[in-house]
């Protein structure tokens, strides 16, 4: 990692992840325009906004599942978008939970949580098992360690996906609309797990449509509209005293 540029170090010293002037174009369509924000240790940042406003793309750019067109993603002050960056190594520190779970269908619940530890972190099997059991217990999925993903409900799958991400002991956990694909009665169990993680001080960036969750759990709320950050601040600021007209409009639609 010695080739990484040391940029704007004084500005983002304490930030684990800092996004600077990030833009993303798909062809001529500009999905993200000049995005800037910081995530510090213990922050729970929720990104809200209408569908198509670029929330998910932003999250995928942070994890480099999409390559940003321009701008930087700084991880502890180091740009991870350049050449000669150990991308898999970076990703192993930044976990991600997807809307569609993305569990490995050929592996059972336990193996889903162990394979990354053993192959990426090179942990011995015994330790990988301990960690997997620890986090599967935490999300209440321990009785199901022998089940295959196809045999689980949506909420159960998502809890396994969270355990899989946690077992890698990431510094930051990204959630890409984790409850959007779930039946209403399963949303609660996943949000409860996430709230617990937030209470324990896990650093999280959550793209969500669950306004109540954003209001109660987050320390920082980012409202995106049309590829730009329209407004950002504490939950009180955004939900109680929004300044931008667009934010007010959006919240009025959501919090009827």
């Amino acid at each position: 990692m010695s080739d990484l540029k040391q940029t704007e170090s004084e500005k983002s010293e304490e930030a684990i992840i800092a996004v600077r002037h990030l833009s993303k174009k798909f062809g001529s369509h500009e999905v993200l325009k000049d995005i800037d924000f910081d995530v510090r240790r213990g922050d729970v940042t929720t990104v809200i906004g209408a569908s198509g406003s670029g929330k998910s793309t932003l999250l995928r750019c942070i994890n480099l599942l999409e390559t940003p067109t321009s701008g930087q993603v700084l991880y502890h002050g180091r740009d991870v978008c350049g050449r000669k960056v150990d991308v898999p190594g970076y990703r192993s520190h930044v976990g991600m939970v997807f809307q569609s779970f993305n569990l490995f269908l050929n592996k059972n619940v336990l193996d889903n949580c162990m394979v990354g530890q053993m192959r990426v972190l090179k942990r011995p099997k015994e330790q990988a098992f301990q960690e997997a059991v620890k986090y599967l217990g935490k999300v209440g999925m321990l009785p199901y360690i022998k089940a295959k993903p196809r045999q689980l409900s949506g909420g159960q799958k998502q809890r396994v996906a969270i355990a899989r991400a946690l077992a890698m002991n990431p510094e930051v956990l990204l959630f890409d609309e984790p409850t959007s694909a779930l039946d209403p009665e399963m949303v609660g169990e996943v949000l409860d797990v996430m709230s617990d993680l937030a209470k324990e001080g896990m650093t999280m960036i959550v793209v969500t449509h669950e306004m109540a969750f954003a209001k109660q759990v987050s320390t920082q709320v980012v409202y995106m509209n049309d590829g730009v950050i329209c407004e950002q601040g504490s939950p009180e600021q955004i939900f109680e005293h929004p300044e931008s007209e667009k934010t007010k409009e959006f919240l009025a639609r959501f919090l009827r």
Partner: protein, 292 residues
Amino acid sequence: MGQFAKLGSDMVSLWSKYGGTYMGGIYRTLVLATIGTVIGCLIGFVCGIVQTIPVYKNDSPVKKVILKVVQIILRIYVEVFRGTPMILQAVFIYYGLPYFSNNTIQFDGKWLVSIIVVSINTGAYMTESMRGGIISVDTGQTEGAMAIGMTHFQTMTSVVLPQAIRNIMPQIGNNFIINVKDTSVMFIIGFTDFFAVHKSVVGATFTYFPSAAIEMIGYLTMTLLASWLLRLLEKKMDGKSDYELVAVDQLTLPAGVYHVDSQKAEKDLNPDERAALLKEREKAAEGGKEVR
């Protein structure tokens, strides 16, 4: 009915005389088809995997160029061997190589040439099957693997290939069955498979139809057996369709157990506590207040 009885007795007399010859043909056909399919699958796996290596923006230009060249060569290989008859490929290799090299390169072994031709032919088909199998594994799982830091190689070996190979099992079966039948074209270089036995037998006995009937039954037996074995293998790969719940001893958990359901905790209360809770609720209901 008389004809059938006659056919039956002709077949029996033919078999009693030439049974060993027929069995030798079956043996050679099965060995050639099996080896050809196995090597062909290996070729197909490797080529299919190479064909699906992604190119990232950040990759070095050298890697990009090499990969592109290799992929083009493989594409040509697939198109040429899929697009020409196996019988001609056999002729090309068996007679063509000595022709071009002034007899310095020669294949003496009909076995060797047959195996090479069947293998590379099957390989060309399997390359495309493998590519399809890899593409058919949804990209979400690949992203899930990449998001926990797996490299392309790790993603392929741990997640994608086991599923891709399972998905193309019917294709492998198809190819094996096609090979059992199509190895008969190797008579062109003098390889005596099951069908070549038929020709030599009827050359001596002129019993065309009874011998053809024996051939039909022989081929069908081989292919049915192969189908059955492959189904068994598929079933084994799928694993059990049910699973056991693992009993949890909560004390052994380092992080404690997370309760999804608050109702569950209520069930654990002892009778006194539960009665107290119910009373409280009743009171609250009377007062018009809501208590959960």
